[in-house]
């Protein structure tokens, strides 16, 4: 299992658009990806679950990646979050 942390820098927080982009970014990987915010935990493949976290700018997200391609998935998702959220 791989785990990393990301602090949200987007002033609007995890709003619909970055959440949707995240779902798309996770899609190609086989690993299970879970996002934990101070407000709850969500499967990163599920858009509305991610939106329901209502994660705001400045909140720290913990991302866990578990599965056969966890190394590449974790690296790519970390880069994705840094660039988009």
């Amino acid at each position: 299992m791989k785990e990393f942390k990301h602090v949200i820098t987007d002033p609007m927080g995890m709003h619909a658009r970055p959440a949707g982009m995240l779902v798309k970014a996770v899609a190609p990987f086989a690993s299970k990806v879970t996002i934990t915010a101070p407000t709850g935990t969500a499967d990163a493949r599920r858009l509305m679950a991610l939106m329901k976290l209502a994660a705001k700018q400045g909140m720290e997200l913990t991302v866990t990646v578990e599965g056969s391609d966890e190394d590449t998935a974790a690296a790519e998702l970390q880069a994705f979050l840094t660039a988009n959220l």
Partner: protein, 537 residues
């Protein structure tokens, strides 16, 4: 004739025929009894919905821009949401017809979002509902709403985001909805399209369907069905006046604001956030006379960092180029509470710990803000002003801190420019002491709203005091004259940034008093420029 009211979201008058928009009301087909067949119908409808949304997205991108098209994009993403799809599949397995499953699952999700403690997420429930209604309509065989030819006023219970986008914008004269808020999609679209509109109105859809002529007065918030001759004449006159006024004012775009005797007046805009700078430039402002900093501090859980503040100020500085930008430091207090600052509740917030008083007591708040402004100064023509000054020592102390921070920044190798430091004159003490403050300040900008409230001892939030809140009170005029005279004697400039700055009845008076700058809502600039240019002063 019938008359009613609503909440106006854009000023102007529209008269024409009413078209009532109702969502398609058809009964959903009953389940075939075979869950697998219902699931197949649903899956096919999702594909159709995706194609429709994708066509709509392309149309919206061209006509309304990327940002508004994102509304549609979000719905396309929701269409693929696993929780939604799982929910529908479960309902179908439970015996529901595809159409009913799509609609009801959508309602469940919409209800969850509507109940969240987050305004942005609350608004997303409309998107979820919109998306599930689309699938429902496809499954029911609804082909959608047929619009008549020509121009019309659109009346509806409420309009869903994708509905507002689908509408032929060039044919709509007004929106009148029974629901919606001033920040709803309908209201935003009305402002984008510049059409007079009402939300939260008391209009009855059945009545609107039966009327021949509907008129909307976006100045007063009234609507009229089949107005009588007298009302019609009044509305037409108002409409003509507004149109003629707008056209005449366009002649002043790009002109210098200079009186007949040659006095140059700067007409600047009041802005709330960096994004407002673009609109202010589009309205032909000659600078920013008041940038409120509060928006950077409100609606969040912690103090903004120096870098966040710097980016916001830099954006405005760059957008305005050589034009002057006056940044007011934080004016927050017990009346505009932010939890993370841990301010105590006060009996009398208007006279409490606010404005510069907080800044001088809480350096951890003031330092990053001043450093951010100084850093941003390298990118434009910035000035800073302090709110709620009552004594000369307060100004001296804040100035000393600025000088110290500038030295620190220079030592760190960060470029800064000389930032003129001024006073927002809004306490009677500062007004009376203007001649003393003028020795220390680089400029004055009068906040007439607070100055009126403090001078007359009239709480401006108290609706019962309406007739006592007199911004033209002789006491106030005497203070205003003294402030301008003191500034001119000391060789500094004085401006007005309160509501009186945009008051056409006061423009000439201010010029006569010796004010050099008037700052106002950007939309008023051309109107005031006309008065300046026609003035004999």
């Amino acid at each position: 004739m019938k008359i009613g009211t609503g909440l106006p979201v854009f000023p102007g008058v529209s008269i024409g025929k009413a078209v009532v928009y109702r969502k398609a009301q058809s009964t959903a087909p009953v389940s075939s009894g075979d869950p697998a067949a219902e699931q197949a119908k649903f899956d096919a409808a999702v594909i159709t919905a995706r194609n429709q949304l994708s066509a709509l997205y392309e149309k919206a991108k061209v006509e309304l821009g990327e940002e508004k098209a994102a509304i549609v994009e979000v719905q396309m993403l929701m269409l693929d949401d696993l929780d939604y799809l799982d929910g529908v599949a479960a309902a179908i397995q439970g015996g529901a017809a595809a159409a009913v499953a799509a609609l009801e699952t959508g309602e469940e999700f919409a209800a969850v979002f509507a109940a969240m403690d987050d305004e942005y997420m609350n608004a997303r429930s409309a998107d979820i509902r919109d998306m599930s209604h689309r699938i429902y309509d496809i499954l029911c065989g609804n082909t959608g709403f047929q619009l008549p030819e020509g121009k019309f006023l659109l009346v509806a219970e409420d309009l869903a985001p994708s509905e507002t986008i689908q509408l032929p914008r060039e044919r709509i004269l007004a929106f009148v909805t029974r629901q919606g808020s001033s920040s709803s999609h309908t209201a935003i679209l009305a402002r984008t399209l510049n059409i007079p509109s009402l939300v939260q109105s008391d209009i009855e859809l059945a009545d609107a369907e039966g009327c021949t002529v509907l008129a909307v007065d976006g100045f007063t918030g009234n609507w009229y069905m089949d107005p009588d001759d007298e009302t019609m004449a009044m509305l037409k006159a108002k409409q003509a006046e507004a149109a003629a006024g707008r056209a005449a004012l366009e002649a002043y775009r790009g002109k210098e604001s200079i009186t007949k005797s040659g006095k140059k007046i700067i007409l600047a805009a009041n802005i709330g956030c960096p994004e407002d700078a673009e609109a202010a430039l589009a309205a032909d402002c000659e600078g920013v006379g008041l940038m409120r900093s509060e928006f950077l501090y409100l609606g969040r859980d912690s103090l903004p960092t120096e870098d966040e503040l710097f980016e916001a100020y830099k954006k405005v500085a760059q957008a305005m180029g050589d034009r002057p930008v006056v940044i007011r430091t934080l004016d927050i207090g017990a009346d505009k509470q932010v939890d993370y600052m841990g301010l105590e509740k006060e009996e009398n917030p208007a006279l409490g710990l606010r404005g510069l008083r907080i800044c001088l007591t809480r350096e951890e708040i003031f330092r990053p803000q001043l450093r951010a402004i100084l850093r941003a100064s390298a990118y434009g023509n910035l000035m800073v002003m302090f709110p709620m000054v009552a004594s000369v020592w307060e100004l001296k102390e804040a100035k000393a801190l600025c000088a110290q921070l500038r030295q620190e920044l220079t030592a760190e190798g960060i470029e800064t420019k000389d930032v003129p430091i001024g006073v927002m004159v809004e306490t009677p003490a500062a007004a009376v002491l203007a001649h003393e403050l003028a020795k220390e300040a680089a400029f004055f900008s009068v906040g007439t709203n607070d100055l009126t409230q403090y001078t007359l001892a009239v709480d401006r939030q108290n609706a019962n005091l309406g007739k006592f809140y007199d911004p033209y009170h002789p006491a106030l005029m005497a203070l205003l004259a003294h402030i301008a005279r003191s500034a001119n004697d000391a060789g500094i400039w004085a401006g007005i940034c309160g509501e009186l700055g945009a008051d056409p009845k006061m423009t000439e008076k201010f010029i006569e008093m010796g004010y050099k700058e008037l700052s106002m809502a950007a939309g008023r600039i051309l109107e005031i420029r006309k008065i300046v240019c026609e003035s004999e002063q």
